[in-house]
Assembly symmetry: C2
Homo-oligomer: 364 residues x 2
């Protein structure tokens, strides 16, 4: 157990935003929510999953919807009091701790704010090790943990409790509720026991985010090369450096979809890259050849500051570095690839681990 | 209190279908559901609202969605066990009786089936005195009774509980859930106390439906004129007799919308009528002049059998009689007209009671 202070939150927000691979929300908004909450309620206890009692009720807290919307619609913090009360009634058990469902600028921060506000600990694990756009895209789903009972709460005071026969039904019904309730809502889903978190969670994600964020922030003062350090920490690959020449996007069915086109600079002059996204970056192609695909992480960072760039802040002319990071091994199983591989997102493309895609390039 | 037997159910199904004004579902399907349920579980007790204890929990049961879909998707009867259990948990009280939310071929029958299956009484009242397409279109809403907690259950086993800040939010969220869950679902909504049913319900609707159905069915053997008897019982007006020359319709957002064009026969030869509907018949115009508008009832009957014709069975060449019936006085208040008047449905038209619209015609 350790306490998360302001400095830790600054680092986690930034690092989680990188792991958010373009999605997971604006880290600045997330940061403010978490910082305000600990200012008001005191620092948050971060528990290692191994510190959880096996029978403890652990309830994830997150935002659902198009992340572009949350910029205009900051949660008021009351939503989770309603959501957790609803779940405690349905489950007949007190909530022991909260946990992030994914890594991202907002969705790593909301659980910190919730933990502070409700005076409960936060667990250092998540269900993705990155961000993904749909609710069944969690390691919990791979292990057969049900998404429901699921609670959806909007900032107006409407709430919905779902009990679904499959996790994909939870996604489908929750998605239309989200769009109707204002395109961005607070959710609790995949309530679990401590024993299930230990088995199915991706452990240490908050600490990992913190390490990433620290590298990026420290580089500002130390004038070091954060990209090299980040690649070393994450076992990642530099995929491209370029200027954004075009971004097309629209909000469809509660998702923020689009394509970002890049023209190479420095070592990549004369080359081009396309990155497709649906909330998160999904596929990167260099000069028409696929160099990284979901579920591996495709992260875009500002070329000058190394600050992660979310899909909603991609804009013409911005100079960026694209890096690829191997995903957690849980995603590389048959069920993992079926759940979050390129074919699920509509690409006629088999998944090839980034280590193999990157290998010939390294050999040049 | 009296028992509803097979004969009563046949009459109610038919009469409620007339009051359904084109909506409320196929009376044949509704009939079968109710008849099967009483065959299996025995006859159902029909209580007058005045027989209800003031603190009794009364829970409406209904189908929601495009009625055309239910023809392919007969509820399995298990849905309400789930729905009522969900509500009992939320409300912390046992359900005393069920009640229809509207009059219609299916939605008057479902509460009979539910009452039989759960062994609880049925209350002789509803919230519309006819059928309407949206959830806030009930007299309970006019009196400030909340729609939520609302339960939605599909035949697959998915369920949703809504807690909304307004009844219009219940309609909006439930509508998208309905479409996603398969375009036709079972719902429980506007849970009430006995005292509220007494004050806000439209009393005697099942008995009224039964009287209507009896007139129509008896006419088959007695060779009498059921239209005249129906007009006398309902204080209604004959608006038109004609052949259907065109029906345009589509299912949009869970509603069955359209327009039915008629060409006059017999006394109406040379005249034309248009009837617009959204699940239910909303506006009737004769030779371009409005002769009846929602919330008054516009009912289409088969010219030969006097069987009510639902909007989904309108078809080219069918000979029909159109009658208009004054709505319950609760709908003629300012809030009533705001909730279900022509302007709510998008018509640039003030509501004029059918008695006034029909008066000049009578004077001719």
């Amino acid at each position: 157990m350790r306490l998360l202070d302001e400095q830790a939150i600054e680092h986690i927000a930034l690092g989680a935003s990188l792991l958010g691979t373009g999605g997971g929300g604006d880290p600045h908004i997330g940061r403010l929510m978490a910082l305000n909450a600990i200012k008001k309620h005191g620092p948050v206890k971060l528990l290692s999953p191994d510190e959880l009692p096996d029978d403890a009720l652990v309830v994830p807290s997150a935002m659902m919807g198009a992340p572009i919307v949350i910029i205009e619609k900051i949660p008021n913090g009351e939503e989770f009091i309603t959501a957790f009360k609803g779940l405690e009634e349905v489950l007949g058990k007190k909530v022991y701790a909260t946990i992030p469902i994914e890594a991202g600028g907002v969705n790593s921060m909301i659980p910190i704010a919730v933990a502070a506000q409700l005076g409960i600990p936060l667990v250092d694990a998540d269900g993705m090790g990155r961000a993904f756009p749909e609710l069944q895209m969690v390691t919990y789903h791979l292990d057969g943990i049900p998404a429901s009972p699921m609670v959806i709460v909007d900032e107006k005071g409407n709430s919905v409790i779902l009990q679904t026969i499959t996790n994909n039904w939870a996604e489908e019904i929750a998605r239309v509720c989200t769009v109707t309730m204002g395109a961005s809502v607070m959710i609790s889903i995949y309530s679990m026991l401590g024993s299930q978190v230990k088995e199915s969670g991706i452990k240490g994600i908050m600490t990992f985010s913190e390490q990433i964020g620290k590298i990026i922030l420290d580089a500002r003062t130390e004038n070091s090369n954060p990209i090299a350090q980040l690649l070393e920490l994450t076992h990642g690959y530099e995929l491209f450096k370029g200027k954004i020449t075009d971004v097309s996007r629209d909000i469809q069915g509660g998702f923020n979809r689009g394509l970002c086109a890049l023209s190479g600079i420095d070592d990549y002059t004369g080359e081009s890259m396309d990155v497709s996204f649906q909330n998160e970056n999904l596929i990167a192609t260099k000069d028409g050849t696929v160099v990284a695909t979901v579920p591996d992480l495709i992260c875009i960072l500002d070329a000058d500051t190394s600050i992660p760039v979310t899909t909603e802040t991609l804009k013409f002319g911005r100079r960026v570095v694209v890096i690829g990071i191997p995903c957690d091994h849980k995603w590389r199983t048959a069920k993992g690839i079926e759940t979050v591989g390129p074919r699920y997102f509509g690409y006629d493309l088999d998944y090839t681990p980034i280590e193999r895609l990157a290998a010939p390039q390294e050999a040049e």
